[in-house]
Symmetry: C2
DNA sequence: ATTAGGGATAGACATCGTCTATCGCCACAT
DNA sequence: ATGTGGCGATAGACGATGTCTATCCCTAAT
């Protein structure tokens, strides 16, 4: 049985006339007659009662028509829904974001994304890098915003912006009077995040593996970390986008001597079909953050 | 788009594996892959994300699946309903019956019909011969029980039984003492039905066009006619199956001298597809009425 | 009786679905 | 590093089938 045949059947039943039904279907009368005949043979029932001059649907045909209409309607729905979804810049898009980025980046880019890609329903998903990569590979995410390079050939990444690290100090800290802070000095009482945060590894890498006092104090979130620094437990290193939050917490921010930072990327599966959506999202975020690195570094003085 | 392709799509989405999906569909893996690919091109969207080692339905595919399942389910419903209706001895059957037959025949044949053809839902439709023929030709009836021969080559008829006419007399009537009544005598004060009843024409034909007293009294129904005879307004001629009702009304019944009667037929369109149902109904009625003519004639003495 | 309309039939042609065989890719194991 | 196996894609051949035009047959109406 074929959807085409069902359309022929509908036309024949509605027109009550094979010739006109065929015309409505854009085929010749013999074609429609033959297909209807085949359908009757396949179903094992007579669908039309033919007499020399006229034709009428049988009782059985009338009983089938409801299902036939429903099947054809569902087929049309498939075509319509597919047409709506043909635009890769539409529909749900699950975007992973690391926790040290999400709270500070999302407020900046949400409105521009909605404006530039109104049909795209972006669902943010916050998790650490390893979790995001796993979900990305499991196709539970469509893309992810990471601060590390993709770790395999099955994933692709596009840099969006560079985010400088800043030294975050309690106002009374001895380094707070410097205009620029050297990483080695910051390392003396550096507090870091808990395991799994890429920022933890990056902070330790930038400052050398000091982490004296803070060794035991592994904050679960950047927000916690900031409060701990504000309370005088030590210093830390924050990503530039968190500058506002750090200042709100009463911290003093200083550029680093080496201008170290991290490169934020959007990462996706190489085979992902909606690369256009990835491109568009990346473009909006990169555009919003363009020139951010310099501004952030300058604005902290 | 094709129902077959939709079944392939369903299998692929549910198995998450082209090879196993193809096996489930009873086709080879390349065939399924090619059809899925074509479907993707027709819909203009990617349905599956392929990677060297695995495959997964896209977001768009998942959104379509509901409609796909619905369409396939409707198609299956069409097949199932058709299978149920493949039996011509099942389903609704609209059977026309003339008014001088219906009230007396139906009680006799209803139970045998239900027993012999349990799946056939017989819908009786009572009307005069002309109305039944019109509805039959308009395909609003599937067959009709008539007491006349079909009036055209587009209709076929099969005789079911012969129904003798009986003279129906008030007990005090002068003819009531006879064992057999001659039609000419009956004609003297014969009451007949209203125009349109075939029995009216037949009674007049049998008795000659007398109809003296009854000329103005054209009863709309046989039941009315019986009551009028019982009230002494005249005599009448009734079909054998109405004997019981006539006796209940207190009438005396006598066979006619010429053993005149009418032949009851089942009539249907020559092109009607469910001839088997007509045959079966006719057989049940004929079987139930077999030997009725003799019995009725004998039983009235 | 003739004519026109409507459906059925026949035969040719092209499309398309399906198969087998093979390739290419990727992951995993030795 | 290298082989191996699983899985999907591709190629080419073959057969089924949907479609067309031309024609026939039947019926009803003039």
């Amino acid at each position: 049985m074929n959807l085409r045949d069902l359309r022929y059947l509908l036309a024949a039943a509605e027109h009550g006339h094979f010739g006109r039904a065929a015309e409505a279907c854009g085929i010749s009368q013999p074609t429609l007659s033959v297909q209807i005949r085949k359908l009757e043979e396949e179903l094992g029932i007579a669908l039309f009662e033919r007499s020399g001059r006229s034709m009428a649907p049988t009782e059985a045909c009338l009983r089938l028509l409801g299902h036939v209409r429903a099947a054809v309607a569902e087929a049309d729905a498939i075509l319509a829904v597919a047409r709506d979804m043909r635009d890769p810049l539409a529909g749900r898009f699950r975007l992973g974001i690391i926790p040290t980025l999400a709270p500070y980046l999302l407020p900046l880019v949400f409105a521009p994304l909605r404006e530039a890609l109104p049909a795209l329903e972006i669902e943010p998903w916050e998790d650490q890098t390893a979790g995001l990569l796993a979900r990305l590979r499991a196709r539970e995410l469509d893309a992810a915003l990471l601060a590390t390079e993709p770790d395999g050939a099955d994933l692709l990444g596009r840099p969006l912006f560079d985010e400088p690290f800043l030294a975050a100090l309690p106002p009374e800290h001895r380094l707070a009077s410097r205009r620029i802070v050297a990483e080695e000095e910051l390392a003396e009482d550096l507090l870091v995040l808990a395991d799994g945060h890429c920022l933890r590894d990056q902070a330790l890498a930038v400052c050398g593996h000091g982490g004296g006092a803070g060794g035991a104090l592994r904050a679960a979130s950047l927000s916690t970390l900031l409060n701990m620094v504000a309370a005088g437990y030590g210093t830390t290193l924050i990503p530039g986008l968190a500058a506002g939050a750090a200042q709100d917490a009463g911290l003093v921010l200083r550029p680093l001597a080496t201008r170290a930072g991290r490169r934020v990327r959007i990462v996706w599966r190489a085979r992902f079909p909606r690369q256009a959506a990835v491109e568009a999202i990346g473009e909006v975020i990169a555009g919003r953050l363009r020139g951010f690195a310099e501004g952030a570094a300058a604005g902290t003085i």
